[in-house]
């Protein structure tokens, strides 16, 4: 075997294998090379993204734990904290959607309870090819079933999310799962081995060959041959997860645990190496003691297995016996498999025989790469294209077609399959508002969460599009009355070795950085998923770049919150923020004219922050209980959704947009726009607040009746609420059968 072949067999380049040899002072054996290969994979080591990710703002007074741990943690007040993180399971879900998605939920929940928090909610951001295609429906079905079977059984509610459809995801769906957990400040746990002498405890499922090489699999191009990689997809056991969760939380409460980490990507290798690294220590690990479900597994297989529902703990000094007894009470397999040592090495033993001797620091410091990115010429041309599309003569029909866009349409058929109420904290249910809202029992506080991205915006202009994702996520939180606190991001991109993809990644991170700074939402954790692509003719093309933003915020008083549905007849419909939308990169252009072109609308982050602050203040002071942000499909779609959700109509005049194209006024998109509905005197108060903040504000009309009635500069049209409802519900009901 040539050096090149040997390196490739472990997922390393020849130069990387050379660096491993330098670190060791000798050639690595296969076990050592394999462990390095897994930890230096893109999935574990972030070697292509790390230099870019350093740009992201990660600090703020609210941050209790930034990136680098199992999950980020922010302060929500009253001594309470929220741990949250988002992670992708794209490649496994493409190969086996049910288990791919299920294990995605399992992994992210373990990250949350590894921080010491009790998981309280899951949100997902999903993307598929169009639902008219049977294979895409198969994937959608499978992913929804996987999330449902896992989350429901563990008993953590799935409270929100988004689902988008575009042909670029047909072979490579995106499954990004975000989880949140609550805890007291003093309950934070960390992924560290603690002190020399501590016992390293393995607990959970036995180790098998499932998920072997998953980290390397996730870091390679997805292709036709990937079907043969099915053993790289793991199988989830939510029952085991529930036992692990309860056992771990009880063990923390009894001070039996020094440090804890989930065995995620690259399994035992990464968990033990990372825990040792954070403490600056080493571990002697006895592989013969690792519980196995298969015979004849090699040492490397044991180290790299991604069998699910396994945690690595270190016992608090002197409490090992109690810890093992507690784990046994919860009917879990637990085994002391190693000892923390001061030597800074990861030494792997079979009994007394030393199989491998690895430097912990080097394992955790993979080589990183920066490259030059170049913008794809065709995308640049499309962005600059002059848009000349005819104005529709049937705005009512156009509105219904937009509501029938599967990306906009109601997702109820999906979220009905998720238990969204278990744990009895869910105050705002999926679909009722722009963000989910949970109460924190025993406090007046609420926690809001959302996930967001408009991949078309990012594709056409990555920097601006990524900033839009942050702005919209913050707007969603503001629309329920929450103050945004922090971000977890999931960067889904193509092959970073292609200059066009690297450009997208680079630019998107810049956009995230700018917007997170401006809106005071530091990034406290996240995940990168590269090599997402689809077949196009003879070659492969990257998916639309999709930097999904998960955001968490706090409501100081849960009784003061807003949802989108119109609640009373006679409320004033108020639009705050800049009035007119634009056609570029809009859902309307795509859906009605088949065009993905033009520039996404410009984003003024100061205006965005001011508009959100006004909306938030009005809700938090109790002036307003009905708010909805204007996003995909523009103002007309936003108004229709408020009517649908409230089960009542409204009449509005778009006269303030005199002189503009009618379709831009109705369906054009722009950031920093929020529609409020308020009783008369509250409306005056809202207008006064807008004036004081220098935020534009327009009275559009009034709620009531059983139809959406719109007067524009070109005439008037009306659509019964019942017709809006029918169109809005059809696509996903049809797709899920």
């Amino acid at each position: 075997m040539s050096t090149h072949q040997r390196a490739a067999a472990f997922g390393l380049s020849e130069a990387e294998l050379g660096r491993v040899a330098e670190h060791l002072g000798r050639e690595p054996n296969d076990l050592e090379a394999g462990v390095f290969g897994a930890l230096w994979s893109e999935h574990c080591g972030y070697k292509n993204s790390k230099p870019l990710l350093r740009r992201l703002p990660t600090e703020g007074p609210q941050v209790l734990q930034g990136p680098g741990e199992n999950a980020g943690v922010v302060d929500i007040g009253d001594g309470w904290a929220v741990a949250f993180k988002m992670e992708s399971h794209n490649h496994p879900s493409a190969v086996e959607p049910v288990q791919g998605a299920a294990t995605g939920v399992g992994g992210i929940l373990r990250d949350i309870f590894a921080m010491g928090a009790r998981p309280v909610a899951v949100l997902d951001s999903l993307r598929f090819g169009g639902p008219e295609d049977a294979r895409n429906r198969f994937l959608l079905h499978g992913v929804v079933e996987g999330i449902s079977l896992y989350g429901n059984a563990v008993g953590v509610p799935t409270v929100g999310g988004e689902i988008g459809f575009h042909p670029c995801y047909r072979e490579n769906p995106l499954v990004n799962v975000m989880a949140l957990g609550f805890m007291r400040h003093d309950e934070i746990k960390r992924g560290t081995v603690g002190k020399a002498g501590n016992s390293v405890i393995y607990v959970g499922s036995k180790t098998g060959r499932d998920g072997l090489g998953g980290a390397v699999f996730a870091s390679a191009d997805l292709s036709e041959a990937s079907g043969a990689d099915r053993p790289a997809v793991q199988v989830g056991d939510p029952f085991m997860e529930k036992l692990l969760l309860e056992a771990c939380l009880e063990a923390y409460a009894r001070d039996l645990v020094a440090g804890v980490q989930d065995m995620g990507a690259a399994g035992l290798s990464s968990s033990v190496a990372e825990m040792a690294h954070r403490a600056g220590l080493g571990v002697d690990l006895y592989l013969d003691r690792v519980p196995r479900r298969e015979e004849g597994m090699s040492a490397l297989e044991v180290m790299l297995s991604e069998s699910q529902e396994r945690m690595l703990l270190t016992a608090a000094p002197g409490r090992e016996g109690e810890l093992l007894a507690l784990l046994e009470h919860w009917e879990l397999d637990a085994q002391a498999i190693g000892v923390v040592k001061p030597h800074g090495r990861l030494r792997l033993y079979d009994g007394q025989r030393l199989l491998g001797d690895l430097p912990v620091a080097a394992l955790n410091e993979p080589p990183t790469y920066t490259r030059d990115g170049t913008e794809d010429a065709e995308t640049a041309r499309l962005r600059r294209a002059r848009l000349s599309v005819p104005e529709t003569s049937d705005p009512a029909g156009a509105l219904l077609r937009l509501l029938e866009s599967p990306t906009i349409a109601c997702k109820e058929a999906v979220f009905r399959r998720y238990d969204h109420q278990v744990m009895t904290n869910t105050v705002v249910l999926p679909g009722q508002a722009d963000a989910a809202v949970l109460r924190v029992k025993g406090t007046p506080l609420g926690v809001a969460a959302t996930v967001d991205c408009n991949p078309r915006y990012v594709w056409l202009e990555p920097r601006l599009g990524a900033a839009h994702a942050v702005a919209e996520a913050a707007r969603n939180l503001s629309c329920v009355g929450a103050t945004p606190l922090g971000v977890t991001d999931n960067l889904n991109f193509g092959n970073p070795y292609l200059p066009e993809v690297y450009y997208q990644l680079q630019q998107a991170v810049e956009g995230l950085t700018e917007a997170c700074r401006a809106l005071d939402t530091p990034v406290v954790g996240g995940n990168v998923s590269l090599y997402n692509q689809y077949r196009d003719g003879s070659g492969y093309r990257a998916i639309h770049p999709t930097p999904t933003v998960g955001m968490v915020g706090v409501l100081p008083d849960i009784e003061r919150r807003a949802t989108m549905g119109l609640k009373r007849d006679g409320d004033v419909i108020l639009l705050i923020g800049p009035a007119l939308g634009e056609l570029g990169a809009s859902e309307m252009l795509y859906r009605l004219h088949g065009l993905e072109a033009g520039s996404p609308p410009p984003l003024d982050l100061e205006v965005e922050a001011a508009v959100q602050r006004v909306a938030r203040t009005l809700i938090q002071e109790g002036t307003c209980d009905t708010a909805h942000d204007v996003s995909d499909g523009g103002l007309a779609v936003a108004l229709a959704e408020m009517a649908i959700e409230g089960g009542r109509g409204l009449q509005v005049s778009l006269a303030p947009f005199e002189g503009a194209r009618e379709d831009a006024a109705l369906f054009g998109e722009a950031p920093a726009r929020i529609v409020l509905a308020l009783a008369g005197d509250s409306a005056e108060r809202a207008e006064a607040r807008c004036r004081a903040a220098g935020v534009p504000c327009q009275r559009l009309g009034v709620s009531g009746g059983d139809a959406l009635r719109v007067r524009t500069s070109r005439g008037a049209f009306s659509v019964p609420v019942a017709s809006l409802v029918a169109s809005y519900h059809r696509p996903l009901r049809d797709a899920l059968g």
Binding site: N152, F239, M240, R416, R417, Q421, V422, T424, K441
Partner: protein, 235 residues
């Protein structure tokens, strides 16, 4: 007065039941692990929802064989109130403390939504705070909630008034559309002949605070407490 909430491995509404009884209604709750052979001091028993043993065999089938179930059986035989919610009803059914069987939903997938229920009798500890024919709004969340039994047994059940709740529409009619999971007779909850064991699919413990949308489940739990307090509504 103590409410025993039995925890099986995989129970996941145990804490919701505890929250409802203890923090909302002020009645102390004690967890009883499924391996225990005695309920200890308990005035009422709750078998909570969840996925006991992962429900890998059949909802409730393994939990029905847990050591604690002998104690539950004996507690029920002595007339103590036993409430099985969702998976708890499946367990009571598998343990033959209640008649019938709970099969998979006809749609073959999990369903989480609010439903209308009609109260069929108001003379049980669980329903004494309701009126007969009263409509309740409660959430369901299950995969295996389709109540089934053969026609002869169903007729006997109806005749003896063992049907406690039915799925109905907003007008109180037990229509096919309102039947959330295809249960025979739109049945959402049944009791034993003695009327001290209740199994139901909807979750009353999730509906005890208006903040979460409905408090229609609170009178059910409060009714149990009233009956324990000696027949008069507790203050």
């Amino acid at each position: 007065m103590t409410i025993a909430v039995v925890r099986f491995p995989g129970s996941n509404c145990d804490d919701d039941a505890r929250h409802a009884f203890e923090f909302v209604l002020g009645a102390p709750v004690r967890y009883v692990w499924h391996r225990e052979t005695s309920l200890g001091r308990a005035d009422a028993v709750v078998l909570p929802g969840g996925f006991s043993y992962g429900d890998y065999l059949r909802g409730g089938a393994l939990a029905a064989l847990s050591p604690v179930m002998e104690a539950v059986r004996s507690f029920a035989a002595h007339g103590g109130p036993v409430l099985g919610i969702c998976n708890g009803w499946q367990i009571l059914t598998e343990a033959h403390l209640l008649p019938g069987q709970l099969a998979r939903n006809p749609a073959l997938h999990f369903k989480c939504q609010d439903v209308w229920l009609r109260v069929e009798r108001d003379d049980l500890p669980f329903t004494r705070r309701y009126r007969k024919d009263q409509l309740l709004r409660l959430p369901i969340a299950h995969n295996e909630g389709r109540f089934y039994l053969d026609e002869a047994t169903l007729a006997r059940l109806e005749q003896r008034g063992q049907v406690v709740f039915r799925y109905v529409d907003a007008a109180g009619e037990p229509t096919a559309e309102a039947n959330a999971n295809g249960s025979v007779g739109n049945i959402a909850g049944v009791t034993n002949e003695a009327g001290n064991v209740l199994g139901m699919m909807p979750h009353p413990e999730r509906a005890v605070e208006t903040l979460l949308g409905s408090a229609d489940g609170a009178p059910l739990l409060q009714g149990v407490l009233d009956s324990l307090a000696g027949g008069r509504p507790a203050a």
